[in-house]
């Protein structure tokens, strides 16, 4: 090939590369290349990675029991209604100590409100293009980067505990020093689940019961420093049922908190 041809080829390549990079097409092209799962466990983790694509609405309740190192427990109920892509209502009630650390999260698709039930105040943030950008989420295990976790944006910005169980893609992006152990199948709320244990190198572990149809976490049992730290269990769940849109509105009686 002549010098001039090399030069032209490289110039065309630079222009093409620039277009691919700036438009994000390169990542999309790579994402659509077929990736064969190496094992059944990889197929399960791939399902968890894209669980947010497997449902439209979710409604239900979940109970979280947090165990303190001093033997105390804190029990919360999370009542939730979620409609993709960005509508959410989560009412958090402390069942152990009425009113303490309660809260409500509301997202109407344009703004996210974090309500303090006790003070009757709220904080808000606008939902911008970056808030809802899913392009960073790995689409299969081949895109998972060692030691980097991309949490679904809704779980990042709507900070209720149940959100990481509903948007579960982070669970398939554990540190490379962790080990996944597939313990079998089970049934929760009359739904088929996989039981998966994530074992950290330091001895901590997190066992989750993952809904096979949607990839969301229905039950969670977490051991930290050799002691039970968290028990979470969904107590009822409706998938893809119509949702009352009036839930996704800032409730009356709350005022804007002083910004910190």
């Amino acid at each position: 090939m002549k010098y001039k041809s090399w030069l032209i080829s490289i110039m065309v390549g630079i222009v093409l590369g620039g277009i691919l990079y700036t438009t994000g097409l390169f990542r999309d092209i790579i994402a659509f290349l077929p990736v064969k799962a190496a094992s059944t466990s990889d197929e399960i983790l791939n399902t968890i990675l894209i669980s947010h694509t497997k449902w439209t609405t979710l409604q239900g309740n979940a109970q979280f029991t947090w165990y303190g190192s001093d033997g105390s427990t804190q029990i919360y109920n999370n009542k939730f209604a979620i409609a993709q892509p960005a509508s959410a209502y989560i009412d958090i009630t402390n069942l152990s100590q009425s009113g303490k650390n309660d809260g409500i999260w509301v997202s109407n698709g344009k703004a996210i409100y974090n309500l303090n039930k006790e003070a009757k105040t709220y904080q808000s943030q606008i939902i911008s293009a970056s808030t809802l950008d899913l392009s960073m989420l790995p689409k299969d295990l081949s895109q998972v980067q060692p030691n980097i976790v991309y949490i679904h944006p809704m779980a990042l910005h709507v900070g209720a505990p149940i959100m990481e169980d509903i948007y579960s893609s982070w669970f398939a992006q554990k540190s490379p020093t962790d080990t996944y152990v597939f313990k079998g199948t089970d049934k929760i709320l009359d739904r088929d689940v996989w039981v998966i244990d994530d074992q950290e190198a330091n001895g901590d572990s997190d066992t989750v019961w993952v809904d096979q149809a949607t990839g969301i976490i229905l039950q969670d049992h977490q051991i930290i420093d050799g002691k039970l730290f968290l028990d979470m269990k969904m107590t009822d769940l409706q998938v893809d049922a119509p949702v009352n849109n009036s839930l996704f509105v800032l409730p009356a009686g709350y005022s804007l908190a002083n910004p910190q």
């Binding site: 090939m1 630079i14 390169f26 910005h157 505990p161 540190s175």
Partner: protein, 157 residues
């Protein structure tokens, strides 16, 4: 042959062209912003990035702190989750344009990972601040847990 060279160059360029950085920013020193002003405590552990973290317990007076960084054109943010963390932590990014966003990171779930916090809607900016606090996050365990702050990572546009 020409087409191959062009495609190869395009692929290399697409892979190599990245935002500036990433730059790793130490958790120390944090700068006080508001609330309780007792400086966060140092925690030495192999579970922390570089074997050292800062923390405030949830039981201490709530304070707001920010990282000591001095760049412009901030773009993407990441927070290191030390393997010793179990509390949920708020992070708030204030952009110079007045826009701000908050995220919650459940430190019990992402041990030993950089947690992606998001990117700026205004990538051409004179600066941003990343704030943190030991405030309890509603629905998570709220007692005397340590809220850890470790190294941050950012890219610039």
């Amino acid at each position: 042959m020409s087409i191959m060279v062009a495609l190869l160059t395009a692929m290399i360029l697409s892979n190599v062209v990245q935002a500036g950085g990433p730059y790793v920013i130490s958790e120390s020193p944090l700068i006080h912003y508001a609330g309780g002003s007792g400086y966060p405590h140092t925690y030495s552990s192999s579970g922390c990035y570089g074997s050292s973290c800062l923390y405030l317990a949830q039981s201490e007076t709530t304070g707001w702190w920010h990282w000591n960084v001095n760049y412009s054109n901030y773009y993407q943010w990441y927070a290191w989750d030390p393997t010793v963390g179990v509390a949920a932590a708020y992070y708030t990014v204030w952009e110079s344009a007045g826009y701000q966003w908050q995220v919650t990171v459940n430190q019990a779930n992402h041990h030993g990972s950089w947690v992606y916090i998001g990117y700026s809607d205004y990538p051409t900016n004179p600066g941003e601040f990343m704030y943190t606090t030991n405030e309890c996050v509603s629905g998570y365990t709220c007692s005397n847990l340590k809220v850890f702050w470790d190294q941050m990572e950012l890219t610039t546009h």
